[in-house]
């Protein structure tokens, strides 16, 4: 008989530190089209090769003028200017503004030579080819100067910045169709266990359907990785050894199942034999039987087989690790403060990840058991109960981290 109880566990803080120290940063780069670039991490500074806008342009619809021609203009004493032409957006101006003349101009159109300001159309009235200007403008008023947005040589994006809509927009302004980004880590995801059946096949007696492959893949894809699910492996050393070979083609490996203390929990043995186990067992609930190590330089997580334990540890341990590898900043969790609706007890000396629903402004306990996926699928988020707290009373204000 070889069931092996945990001899010791480490705190979640220690576990996080060991993982952080053990995660290499992704070193591959690739070019992606702007349309697929949001959320990606810029891998090389982007420097502007020309000015944006590339010409002085009107920033209002109105009339391009010499500002001095509008001195003292008012509703009661307008200045009258002769309309010398029109410039639409996309035009190349040929008309020149001289003293006493003006040119109708559309927002975004290039300023004509001679003009140094634009009078808004709302401040004018038109009579034939005469424009009455009812307000003075100063030099450069309502003009967007060449290079005002981006000037030649300016670093528009720095390596390490995460692309979002406006940053993609800044690349588009430079006429770029793609951008160099860090590759997303490829994450091998492997459920182990003789009881695990694949979706689409009938359950044999003693079997359950695989859950962790789907929950882990979802989390990985949402936090900068590319999930690579591997076929479910049976609980034999040979099967796991072979599966590990396939997993080693990826940047990060996440096993689930087989890291508990049963005789057939062989992942620990396989990783010990082929690499290094950095920890095995964390003082968290659920999710104690979690393992982290390295095989041939590739980090390996061994997650508990129970779906809720697996997914909660994915949120609190795998997500920060993956984002670090992907060179993404830590997530800024969406949190809400609210009173707890009912007393919650927590086991001593274990950091507890406790699922709750948000109902009428209260956090309602939703936790069932580590094995129950519905304790998470019916929840809106979770509260964390530190290892040294055993009771949280009803009415206590808690911080809910939303999924």
């Amino acid at each position: 008989m070889t069931m092996r109880p945990f001899t010791s566990t480490i705190s979640i803080t220690e576990a996080r530190a060991i993982i952080a120290a053990g995660m290499p940063l992704i070193a591959r780069r690739e070019r992606v089209a702007l349309s697929n670039a949001s959320g990606r991490v810029v891998a090389a500074d982007v420097v502007a090769a020309f000015d944006v806008p590339p010409f002085n342009r009107a920033s209002m619809d109105g009339y391009a003028v010499k500002a001095e021609d509008t001195d003292g203009a008012s509703r009661t004493a307008p200045r009258s200017l002769m309309l010398a032409g029109r410039i639409y957006t996309g035009d190349v101006p040929t008309v020149v503004v001289t003293n006493g003349t003006c040119v109708e101009i559309a927002t975004g159109a290039p300023m004509p030579d001679g003009a140094d300001a634009v009078v808004m159309v709302e401040e004018t009235s038109l009579d034939g080819d005469r424009v009455a200007v009812c307000t003075p403008v100063h030099t450069r008023q309502n003009v967007g100067p060449r290079g005002a947005d981006i000037s030649t040589g300016q670093t528009v994006l720095q390596s390490g910045e995460v692309l979002n809509a406006s940053r993609v927009g800044a690349l588009a302004a430079l006429g770029l169709a793609d951008v160099e980004v860090w590759s997303r880590p490829s994450v091998a995801i492997l459920s182990t266990g003789n009881e695990i059946a694949d979706q689409g096949q009938p359950l044999a007696p003693g079997q359950i359907y695989d859950i962790n492959r789907f929950t882990l893949s979802t989390v990985v894809n949402e936090h900068g990785g590319v999930a690579a699910p591997i076929s479910t492996a049976r609980d034999t050393l040979d099967a796991l050894d072979q599966a590990l070979d396939e997993c080693l083609r990826h940047d990060l490996i996440v096993f689930s199942g087989g890291s508990s203390v049963g005789e057939r929990d062989l992942i620990l043995d396989v990783i010990k034999r082929r690499g290094t186990v950095l920890f095995h067992g964390i003082a968290v609930k659920p999710g104690k039987p979690t393992l982290f190590g390295h095989v041939e330089g590739t980090p390996v997580f061994g997650m508990p087989g129970y779906p809720t334990s697996c997914l909660s540890n994915a949120y609190i341990l795998l997500v920060p690790a993956l984002r670090r590898m992907a060179r993404l900043p830590p997530t800024l969790p969406r949190t809400m403060r609210m009173p707890l609706s009912a007393r919650v007890t927590s086991v001593p000396n274990r950091h507890q990840f406790y699922t709750v629903r948000v109902v009428e402004g209260q956090a309602v306990p939703a936790f069932k058991a580590s094995g129950d996926i519905t304790s998470m699928s019916r929840a809106d988020g979770y509260i964390e109960i530190p290892a040294d707290v055993t009771v949280v009373e009803a009415g206590t204000e808690v911080v809910v981290t939303l999924f």
Copy 2:
């Protein structure tokens, strides 16, 4: 001369109400694989066809026993039971537990007949085929009963729920490989204007590169839509008419450019002729020249051509509208409270969307001009200044909505 000043604007609150009333909900459904289902909206209740787990199982590694056989057990007075067999996960138990015997069992393995509880391995010691039990267990202790997670006939997901990792996991638990969801609205995105050049071609004089197609597509794809960029249209009624025909194949249309007051701003005319303009002009800054209407039942946004005006209105008006159409709940914005680093002034009677960077715990104004994409690409988020506020002093605590 036909430049048309705005005669009136409506408040952002009115604009939002008109848009909300004018957005049909998507009515198409489709099936998607679980691996692509996160973020999608369930379109039909999912009811469990069987129990999960489908059998009583051990929830700890240890020994399956008759609970009554452990009455009074302690470290000093352990109960001794005969080891009658072993059950691993995935096994079909053939052994039966009778009084005085126990069966070694792994977490997740099916309970053998006769046993009604599991003693954790940590509370036992093994000597040959005798197991010393050092603690009493009660009936059902450390047993996950059949159906405890999901019971036959239970509604596991309701129509309208948004899928996330754990909900995808609940579907996986039922052996499902796909799920029926509401289709994502297809959103036609069209930049108009003679000055707009496509990425990858050189700029002619007077031209600038298209930005809005990329920023709008990014926002649409991130909020439940599928961006369908349409070729840039020139500023003629015929070109816009033709482009509109193409756009009408989609669920929602977003034009940018051409809704200001210039003579060639023809989108207003096209929409008026073929449909209904519900508003044109909003008391916001930037982004005043925004219009909303319907053509043949399809909602149409006319966004300002200036990239920042266009994108800020995309965040504050298009995103809620699109999410509504997609049947997604409103976004829960990620906000932070912090002091403003410098005084900001705002024009009277316009709701201002003011971009800021977060630097050392302060909100640092980042706004440049409506036309400047870098005023957003260099920012981390924005503050909103209501229409009746004209000055926000340095040091004021503000709420930053992060992009």
